[in-house]
Subunit: 428 residues, 2 copies
């Protein structure tokens, strides 16, 4: 964990280095993934079967999970967890329903009819990581926006190493209304979704988190299908004044740190003594934290405390860091929030720990990482719809705007473009 002060002489150099730091070592798995995809394209189900046996030590009769199996497993989800999933789903659905965009349609002064219609993607595949570490909350965050967008066919793949599955994942699928589920994972699942096999019809877009092989497979099939962004390790930036309870802030910092040794937790505060209290509290909480190993590695390697002269100073720093999550633990958070231009999602005030947003807040928890909030946004209904624009001229409207088109087409050396307009102006 490093401490930076804006009053230090070399602050700006140190801060630049901190901004540019890459936290994730990228392993090159592109060759392996390329081979798997090529094989699945040719041998389809047979190839998927082979990789599933080899990598997951699992030999299912059929990739598709039966209704009975899904229901039996989902029934093993504890009742309080099922209820919590339902609370989460309802709140996520309500927030995302407000994102449904409006079509555009108008006739302009010269009689041209113009418009833009939003259409749901026909089919979407959701990748869900396997094993006990799978996150049912992510399934809801990926599936519900697609559902609300109106996607007709939503497919899910989830690997079942040694035939095991987390019942909570299937309970979450039930809550989200997903019934077409295949027990495959890795690059072979991504390839099957993109190109289709005898038993799995292809999809138009693939979303959802995965390991390095899944991420690389998504990169390689992009173009054939759409993909969501490739997520990096999680980040939180907490802006806090000295009136906060240092323990609360310590828990918030560790809630990111426990995700991954590459995760990053940053505190910006205007009080050095408060910072020291938080640092001490982090140490104390860590002592008994079951995820201590991961959390302390993340905090030691990537954690940072930035001391500013006043909290206004945090805004330009924050916009450069473009963090995935921002907590504004101050009395009037909206004043700072209004100035924030680069962040995934914001958590305002002293009673909004980021973890609320991970589960039951309503906004999506799939958010841009690795400074990509400069140009990217969290997952939303917009990721599952597309726009089709249109134009309609009648004879008179074409006469009004046709000459300008002809002039530009000729200037660009495209005579058939010009001709297709000119012939309609001439003969009528």
């Amino acid at each position: 964990m490093q401490i930076l002060k804006t009053t230090d002489q070399d602050f700006s150099t140190k801060f630049q280095a901190f901004v540019n730091e890459r936290r994730e070592a990228t392993v090159d798995v592109s060759g392996t993934v390329r081979d798997i995809i090529a094989d699945v394209r040719v041998r389809k189900d047979a190839a998927v079967k082979e990789y599933t046996s080899r990598f997951d030590n699992f030999n299912p009769q059929s990739f598709r999970l039966s209704e009975t199996f899904i229901a039996e497993q989902a029934a093993q989800c504890p009742a309080n967890v099922k209820s919590a999933l339902e609370v989460a789903a309802e709140r996520i659905a309500t927030f995302h329903e407000k994102q449904l965009p409006q079509n555009i349609a108008y006739t302009d002064a010269v009689g041209v009819k113009l418009g833009l219609k939003w259409v749901a993607l026909p089919t979407v595949g959701i990748y869900v990581p396997g094993g006990r570490a799978s996150y049912p909350s992510s399934l809801l965050m990926n599936a519900l926006p697609a559902k609300i967008a109106g996607v007709e066919r939503i497919v899910m793949t989830v690997p079942m190493p040694r035939g095991e599955i987390n019942p909570v994942v299937l309970a979450a699928a039930e809550v989200a209304g997903i019934t077409e589920i295949y027990c495959i994972g890795g690059a072979q699942a991504v390839a099957a979704l993109a190109y289709g096999t005898e038993s799995i019809a292809p999809v138009d877009k693939i979303v959802g988190p995965g390991n390095a092989y899944v991420a690389e497979a998504k990169r390689q099939v992009f173009g054939r299908v759409g993909i969501d962004s490739i997520a990096g390790p999680s980040e939180i930036l907490v802006v806090a004044d000295s009136k906060n309870n240092p323990d609360w802030i310590a828990w918030d910092l560790l809630s990111q740190a426990e995700h991954d040794p590459s995760a990053q937790s940053i505190l910006i505060t205007d009080s050095e003594s408060f910072a020291q209290k938080v640092i001490a509290a982090v140490g104390e909480v860590l002592t008994n934290l079951p995820t201590k190993e991961v959390a302390s590695t993340s905090w030691e390697k990537h954690g940072a405390v930035i001391i500013v002269s006043n909290l206004e100073e945090s805004i330009p720093l924050l916009n450069q860091l473009a963090p995935e999550h921002v907590e504004l633990c101050v009395d009037a958070p909206q004043l700072l929030a209004n100035q924030i231009k680069c962040a995934g999602s914001m958590f305002l005030g002293r009673h909004t720990p980021e973890a609320i947003g991970d589960y039951v807040g309503g906004p999506n928890h799939v958010l841009p990482t690795a400074r990509s909030a400069r140009f990217a946004s969290g997952l939303s209904v917009y990721d599952f719809v597309k726009r089709i624009t249109y134009l309609q001229c009648d004879e008179q409207a074409l006469h009004s705007i046709g000459e300008a088109a002809i002039t530009l087409a000729e200037s660009e050396g495209l005579p058939a473009h010009a001709g297709s307009v000119a012939i309609r102006l001439k003969e009528n």
Copy 2:
């Protein structure tokens, strides 16, 4: 050019092969591009200078074009072309202004404040291809949505082989209000925009068309910056009944074919005799077309005529082909248009040749190619804004939804997530 009939026994096999046909040979330039990007990251301006000298045979004093130079060059644009650019810009701006999205903000029943705000990307770089073949209309289509989105800094790069530039490009930049222009191109321009050099500040997103090196460079810098989609060769699908003038339809087909030998023009009609008339007309128009060489290669290699029993039959075929451009040359185009789910942009009725949309229609002409209209959309204001979501709980609101979050966090094995909520519920 091939002719397919839905009544043929092997139609569906042939049609599938046609859908899956890949029209573009991909040259692997990834190694060269990787070297150029790595070099520009280290040696910055010096590297860009060297590549510009080597590839463009041009040694400018400074990469940034002076106000005087831009004004002098732009003044050489013919007056009628300048006026046409202004007509185009005004119509494009009007259509794109209607895309400006609405923020979301509400307080729900348990007192949680939620919202989503749209924010313009801070800086955008537009790549404009060089030489005489550059398309000033594309500059407008890329720059105006960024401008309307509220992007504060819009930068443009355009290579100047042997010091030459198309005055119309600089006139278009003037119309679009772009003043920060650098005379560089290729992978070195993309690298400079993504990473910055001594004389060029980096941007957050890079858009605009380019050759194979530019496309590959955009792929490689993706993640560091945002990029638009990588465009493939252009496509048109014309649905036409026998009441059309075959000459008009022939011109429309050739207006795509003249773009590129890999471009594709498809006619779907319910009349075989009309199809034959169009095919004959294409041959006739080609005889005197200055772009004959390109257009006839495209038509012969990739052109297709599909004869359907009735025009309703064209809809599922069209949705599978997901063409960049669709013309519906029938009396009641809206009836067909309502059923279209996969297309970039639609041109309705007999008096709306696609070329109108290339220049002065209003909707964007940067559109999804290579069947990607299944999941992707044309360029728009949405490509230059991002969403930041937010959440605010007070004490009471946190008490309402906190337990569900704790339950899910514990079920996912994330105790610090649970703890960050629990400590706030406990102490208050």
